[in-house]
Symmetry: C2
Subunit: 412 residues, 2 copies
Amino acid sequence: MASAMSEAKSPLAQPFPAMPQIAGVTPRIARAGYKDWGRCDLTYVELAEGTAVAGVFTRNVCCSTEVEMGREAVKTGSARALVVNAGNSNAFTGYRGREAVEQIMNQVAQHLGCDPSEVFVSSTGVIGVPLPLDKAQAGVAIVLQAAPCSWEDAARTIGTTDTFPKGAAMQAVVGDKTVTLAGIIKGSGMIAPDMATMLGYVFTDAAIAPAFLQELLSAANAKSFSCITVDSDTSTSDTVLTFATGKAGNAPIESFDSPGADAFAAALEAVCNQLAHLVVRDGEGAQKFISIEVTGAVSDDSARRIGLAIANSPLVKTAIAGEDANWGRVVMAVGKAGEPANRDKLAIRFADKWVAQAGLAADSYDEAPVAEHLKGKEISIGVDIGLGEGRATVWTCDLTHGYISINADYRS
Amino acid sequence: MASAMSEAKSPLAQPFPAMPQIAGVTPRIARAGYKDWGRCDLTYVELAEGTAVAGVFTRNVCCSTEVEMGREAVKTGSARALVVNAGNSNAFTGYRGREAVEQIMNQVAQHLGCDPSEVFVSSTGVIGVPLPLDKAQAGVAIVLQAAPCSWEDAARTIGTTDTFPKGAAMQAVVGDKTVTLAGIIKGSGMIAPDMATMLGYVFTDAAIAPAFLQELLSAANAKSFSCITVDSDTSTSDTVLTFATGKAGNAPIESFDSPGADAFAAALEAVCNQLAHLVVRDGEGAQKFISIEVTGAVSDDSARRIGLAIANSPLVKTAIAGEDANWGRVVMAVGKAGEPANRDKLAIRFADKWVAQAGLAADSYDEAPVAEHLKGKEISIGVDIGLGEGRATVWTCDLTHGYISINADYRS
């Protein structure tokens, strides 16, 4: 991938939405030249004093320095800036990579007069190449003086193999104030978040206690980023951060007893969900957006794991790519999930047409409407396990020649 | 896939070896016409009275009737015949599928004058379509009268998406006798055996107690079939059976204290290993055969799981397809395996060239010889976890456009 947004745009792309400014949040971009490309690759978001922060991070044990330091810094609950490098993940680069992150944190902290721990750094791109100190330093010096930019420009700049910029916004009424949330995200391959995800950022002007913000983000994450997969590969850099500047002037949200807490939680979950879906829509080589709803599992968690087993199955994903109602592959994937399931209670549907019930093909099964559904871009699969009340929905894309082309060429 | 062996032969194919006859074992083939194809698709192997049997089966909970019944029948330790249907897996077909298997067992048992439980049936192919009773009955009637065939014909007939027939043979000295083992196998996609595998059969003239044969087969399986993967998808029909006719006349092998037990165990493991490798060499779309050796894990089992995480990573497999020394993707896969690992102790090599050590790129790393290695058909990756003595080797193939082409078209 020589440069972001240069590939043919995903057929599942959506236009960048109208995104509001968030009081206390100022994005800027610059070109550090991390790769030999003619695009901006350094994003800087300045945050007002008093901004609360919460985050979820990859569980990949070979995670990047950025993830390690972010995981520590988020515990203080306080943030003043975000720096995102594109084109180099700086992962698996040992002390050299750590030096680069510390240099960026110190440089920004000096400029803002804050503690370096209040500067959050993310990087994605190739693994194993230390982020060049000189390019980072020069790039940061430029970006600190750059004019504010649009959300769309920022969303474009954090991307790597993404084919379109991704953002989502929501509002919620909190007490007598309206608070606004704006999120941007990047991600396209190496997507199989394990309680965390690619790079996603949600900014809000709400006033909210950091601990409660973390609680809400973790809950939203469990139903959004943790329910998507492109290729079952869990990135070493996955990070989602939420920053709350408090500039809306609402009475701070401390818990679910605070006025507007439910509305804010719902808005945050909705933004996270939209962002997660956008990543799937830009899945490498994706031609179809697939929703998999699992019901009747022994628990919600079991339902999610069954859903992900289906979503990660190369044979299910290639069947959808081929517009083939090969529901036997869904059976196979349920059976390999390692979760409680009983073959003879299993039922499977495409859209609202049941194709299999009680352990064999449905008597009423008519392939024509199912085949028609599979020709579309939005595919819906339902699986009822028949054992309990557990349910989950996961989202993925199909597996196509595009995925192979993109990933057999990357880096070289 | 209209018919087996009709696709372009895998570039990793190996010629069918010279395979000896096994006393007490007579293979025959016929055309049942399970699919609209002009090839034999029904294999029948008659076994002498007194033949011992052992088996391992898929752990997929949506397994076929054949697997369920085979798992029960193998407990008796006694076999007289094997019937293999190609082109229809008969999985997820409920009572209708069960009727078909019982009909075949009864038909053969009547012919041989044995108990139906001594007739082992396997089927692979499309999931969810009941095996047609009439075609099975007519086909079995024909095959019971057919002339004996070669191992190569039998290996060809059990195949579905396979592009070449697969067999392996060994001899071992047991006491004052030489015993012979001959194995055939089919499998190309939906390959991620979980303590079991695709369809594989090993025949021997050795005399051996069924319980000890089971012990040896389970041990051999753990180091062979359970260490290969093509696409991480675990079949609903995976079965490996070993039949021992006792015709070699050796003193029956009862335990490791029996003369020749070690030699027989080694020969069985060698046959299983060769057969497992042949399946990988016929992996759908495979262009390269990849060996992944994991050392320094906390246990052998942990090493195997790390190896499989690497072997199942679409990003690792596409990098190899692209002949790209993108070892960062190996780091990622180690990190997502869910096993103990420490980024800063991790070392990775391609062939004998260390590319990463102690958490960052190796100082001595020269990409040229690695790039040269990656141009070959036999790729070797080594990973040292640096934590313990656990080790395992797993085998897989690369992920190419061929896999997509084969699986986006299957069935339709």
